[in-house]
């Protein structure tokens, strides 16, 4: 401690310390001289003797500084001062290196801040490493993955048998509901969770309690837990709100608790209601997510084995050819499953770009070392050790790294802002993305590591010089002389790395183009949609719901600019309701449940979106509750379930709802597939459409707990023009039902590929940066060799070589290196594309077109970058170059 203190004082009060030393030693000499004088020596001689006997005061001061541990800070300061001087003397090099680093490190900083927020930063719950998501892991038919949505049956098995876990069940979606309290009407987001959910997360309510088991079963009392923000906003933080009633979805709910301010839920939510899990109704499908906390005495392996055996009898039977088992996944991974792969891909890509940047700067340093060999040889001749020389050169590159890192931090900060604008509000990112100390520390480490990475080899190579040769014959060699291979290898590897990035970006861009080019199956132009929540006690019956549809639609149809209007449950591209059904007649009769997407709609829906009728008929107003039940199916449904059969006239039954006749077949539409990873992000799915008028009370209540129906309106002009009119129309029908949000159908289509667009765009930008760096690397190499070989070129030209021949001799190594780089890069890119397999759709990972185009493009750029500097050969004047000596 005392030592630290004395060292710190010595370091920070350097000049005072030295003054003290000098005056102390001066006093010593003075006293000694006085003593000598007292013994009879004459004054001048006494002083001279005293000084000689003391020795060099400078050396003594130096030794004293060393004694208090100031040697390495002194040397460091000297190295840094020298490095600053050297870097300032070659501004072109410094600027090029700094710009490269700033771009590369900036990209890394921006992406790392997202990766950190989503994947690395621990969840904001106590002991987050003991929290587990229980998933159904499936494998087979070339696919594998984890499904976090489980059925009620699976939950009940876990609840009853998984003794190593404290477990709870919740819905992974929140939905907008109408909320009335204290004379205020709000549209809030509600998430449904089971009793014990907050206990499992490790969250104690700030006021009141969470749901009890008695409240968490079908038919239990209506209760709710509020978020801190909602409590502050509506009740101004009044604790007596517990026990009071609020109106939620038109029904009174008793507030039982308020959560603490720092609670962060994994999805946006303002309040919570009991999930009331069951194995029928919604629990009959995969609609539950399960979270568990390891009990204090249990290990992860024990709990995982137990979960596996609990799930074995139920889960294995779900799908043929695909084995499935229950397993534990770290909760954080479970929550971020969909983002994990794309983010890791981006992270790897920016890492590659940084690597290319480092290779580039290393090449520049090697070239510069050639120009500095005289300086370095002089220093060595004057007694500087090799280690000191390497240290000095490393200090230069680390300083360069840190300066580049500082500039990169600024770019990264801008990058984070850009990313937020571009995508983050659309991707499900739940912890704030920001440049906090973690990100800054990572950036600082990356900068220093980069400095060492690009500086170490050139420093070692530069210190291995022949002093005599360098001092005597510097720059006199006729044909280069220095070994050009290290730098050539660097350039080739740069091309190879750039190839990896370009191919990856190419595959993602082609994937995006494929998805974008898919026929949507409907006409999105001039269509506006709006949705509202019908999870409302006043709309518990089919009669009420259908009256609302009829009245609002007839008013909307009268608005100027409206061509036609309909209501549908689930728009194209939206997550749709999954339901089980059985085929009752025809070639295929089911004894087991099959699964399909289901939509209810008013008869005009197909004409409004211009979805083509392929066979049979569309619905009419006559298909109402009093008539025979009917259904229309999509082409994909026919392909999957009614192959080699006549779909028309066949009957199906949805979960015991009664015989329904298939009366028509319509074209497919693109939807979020949501069925594992087998089908890609967008795909035509087997769809069944039924008339809203023929949908029963119970199914309506059930689906309205998860989904909000949409009003779909085709306009004659720009669709935004009818928004105000639609709002007025709905107000006139029911003033308590506000539309929640208006979106044009084109906007919905655009947003459906937000993640893919974001991925492809970002990777393409990074690949462009890599291409630029590789081109600069080749250009630098060739330009440098022109400069080094001017004499040789002069001789060649003088001996009769043509300018074209000389240019070829100079430029061809660049093209040859690029060719080698492209070949090595193809192999690497082959591996990379296998890793990207899960993000690629509609194009093969080894797509020859992508590989070929990228390879040829790279070679073209390399040829340009090689021949451009070679043009200087034309300006070489043989007579002049030879006269120079």
């Amino acid at each position: 401690m005392a030592r630290m203190h004395s060292w710190w004082r010595a370091l920070t009060r350097r000049s005072r310390l030295e003054d003290e030393m000098v005056s102390e030693m001066g006093g010593h000499i003075e006293r000694y001289a006085a003593d000598l004088e007292a013994r009879g020596m004459d004054s001048g001689q006494a002083w001279r003797l005293a000084r000689i006997e003391f020795g060099s005061m400078g050396a003594a001061v130096e030794e004293c500084r060393e004694a208090v541990g100031l040697r390495w800070p002194d040397e460091l300061a000297r190295d840094v001062r020298y490095a600053v001087r050297v870097l300032r003397k070659s501004p072109a090099f410094t600027a090029a290196a700094m710009a490269t680093l700033a771009l590369c490190i900036g990209a890394n900083t921006a992406i790392f801040s997202v990766v950190d927020a989503v994947l690395l930063r621990p969840l904001p719950y106590p002991q987050p490493e003991r929290l587990a998501q229980i998933t159904a892991h499936f494998q087979g038919k070339g696919i594998s993955g984890d499904k976090t949505n489980l059925t009620g049956l699976i939950w009940e098995a876990i609840r009853d048998n998984a003794t190593y876990l404290d477990r709870a069940v919740y819905s992974e979606f929140s939905m907008g509901v109408n909320f009335v309290a204290g004379g205020q009407v709000d549209y809030v987001r509600q998430q449904r969770v089971s009793a014990g959910f907050f206990r499992v997360l490790g969250i104690t309510p700030l006021v009141g309690r969470e749901f009890s088991v008695a409240e968490d079963h079908p038919g239990g009392p209506a209760v709710t837990v509020l978020s801190y923000a909602l409590w502050k906003r509506v009740f101004h933080g009044d604790p007596s709100v517990v026990g009071q009633a609020v109106r939620l979805r038109g029904e009174p709910h008793t507030v039982v608790g308020v959560l603490p301010a720092n609670f962060q839920s994994s999805i946006p939510a303002d309040l919570w209601t009991p999930l009331r899990p069951s194995s029928t109704g919604e629990g009959g499908g995969s609609n539950y997510a399960v979270v568990g906390r390891l009990r204090p005495d249990a290990t992860w392996a024990q709990a995982d084995a137990q979960i596996d055996s609990v799930g074995a009898p139920i889960v294995a039977a779900l799908e043929e050819d695909i084995s499935a088992r229950l397993r534990l996944m770290p909760f954080q991974r479970g929550l971020t499953q969909n983002l994990r792969r794309p983010l890791l891909t981006l992270w790897a890509a920016v890492g590659l770009v940084l690597l290319i940047g480092c290779v580039n700067i290393a090449g520049l340093l090697l070239a510069r070392a050639a120009g500095r060999s005289r300086e370095l040889a002089t220093r060595m001749a004057l007694g500087s050790g090799r280690a000191a020389l390497v240290r000095q050169l490393l200090a230069e590159s680390i300083l360069l790294g840190l300066c580049g890192g500082a500039a990169g931090t600024v770019l990264g900060w801008l990058g984070v802002k850009g990313l937020k604008l571009l995508a983050l509000n659309r991707l499900n990112v739940w912890q704030t993305v920001e440049l906090d100390w973690r990100v800054l520390a990572a950036t600082a480490c990356a900068s220093i590591a980069a400095g060492i990475l690009f500086g170490l080899y050139p420093a070692l190579a530069a210190s291995r010089i022949e002093i005599r040769a360098a001092l005597g014959e510097a720059g006199r060699a006729v044909a280069g002389g220095r070994n050009p291979w290290p730098r050539r290898l660097l350039v080739a590897s740069e091309v190879a790395l750039a190839m990896v990035l370009l191919v990856s970006a190419g595959l993602l861009v082609r994937t995006f183009a494929h998805l974008q080019g898919l026929n949507p199956g409907f006409d999105a132009r001039n269509v506006i949609t709006a949705s509202l929540s019908l999870q409302d006690a006043r709309y518990a019956t089919s009669e009420h719901v259908n009256r609302l549809f009829e009245q609002s639609l007839s008013r909307i149809r009268e608005l100027p600019g409206v061509e036609s209007a309909a209501v549908v449950l689930s728009l194209p591209y939206e997550r749709a309701l999954n339901t089980s059904f059985r085929r009752l007649d025809g070639r295929h009769v089911d004894t087991e449940d099959q699964i399909t997407n289901m939509f209810y709609l008013t008869p005009d829906y197909f004409p409004v979106l211009r979805i083509p009728l392929l066979r049979g008929r569309l619905f009419t107003d006559a298909d109402n509750a009093n008539r025979a039940l009917v259904a229309i199916v999509s082409e994909a449904f026919v392909k999957m379930y009614l192959r080699d059969d006549d779909p028309l006239g066949r009957h199906v039954d949805f979960g015991g709802g009664g015989r329904r006749e298939i009366v028509g077949v319509v074209g497919d539409i693109q939807q979020k597939s949501g069925w594992g990873e087998a089908l890609g992000p967008l795909a035509p799915m087997p769809d069944v459409y039924i008339p809203a008028a023929q949908t029963g009370d119970k199914p309506l209540q059930m689906v309205h707990a998860w989904f909000s129906p949409s009003w779909v309106v085709r306009t004659t002009g720009p669709p935004e023009g009818v928004i105000a009119g639609m709002q007025r129309a709905m107000q006139a029908v029911d003033p308590q039902l506000p539309f929640a949000g208006f979106h044009s159908m084109e906007d919905i289509r655009y947003r459906s590929l937000a993640q893919e667009r974001f991925q492809a765009a970002l990777l393409a930008a990074l690949a462009a940066l890599a291409l630029l760096l590789a081109a600069v690397g080749i250009y630098g190499l060739i330009a440098n060799s022109v400069a080094e070989r001017t004499r040789e070129l002069g001789i060649r030209l003088a001996l009769g070589a043509t300018v074209a021949q000389a240019m070829r001799a100079i430029a061809l190594p660049g093209v040859a290196l690029a060719l080698a780089g492209v070949m090595a890069g193809s192999v690497l890119a082959g591996f990379a594309s296998q890793l990207l397999r899960h993000l690629i759709w509609g194009v093969e990972p080894g797509d020859p077109l992508t590989f070929g185009a990228v390879g040829l493009g790279l070679l073209g750029v390399a040829a340009a970058a090689s021949f451009l500097p070679a043009l200087r050969v034309a300006h070489v004047n043989p007579a002049e170059t030879l006269r120079q000596d």
């Binding site: 030393m21 003075e30 006293r31 006997e53 020795g55 050396a59 030794e63 004293c64 004694a67």
Partner: protein, 113 residues
């Protein structure tokens, strides 16, 4: 002046600690006192005194303070700290052990002549 002895590396530290244990001294004073006690047998190279002083101060065994010397001149005075006293004790013990051991070695007679 009698015969002078070169000082062993590391012994200088112990001598300085011993010198200031008798009362605060400035650098030149320490030099004089060591010469005086050893009856001029020990000569300390003047240039190496100060690095040693700074090293001891850095380790917290001696503490320094600026004060006025006998003839009204400013001088830096060193005194022994508690940690220095402990260090001196252990070094003295160590030294005695070493001295005894070396004496034993030198005193040993050849067993088989």
């Amino acid at each position: 002046m009698g015969k002078q002895v070169d000082i062993l590396q590391g012994t200088l530290d112990m001598l300085i600690l011993k010198a200031v244990s008798l009362g605060p001294l400035h650098g030149y004073g320490i030099l004089l006192r060591i010469q005086q006690i050893s009856k001029d047998a020990l000569q300390i190279p003047q240039g190496s005194l100060y690095p040693a002083l700074y090293r001891l101060e850095h380790r917290g065994w001696i503490a320094a303070e600026w004060g006025e010397s006998e003839n009204k001149r400013k001088a830096k005075y060193y005194r022994l700290t508690a940690a220095g006293r402990k260090q001196l004790k252990s070094e003295r013990k160590e030294w005695k052990r070493l001295a005894v051991a070396i004496a034993d070695v030198l005193a040993a007679e050849a067993e088989e002549a």
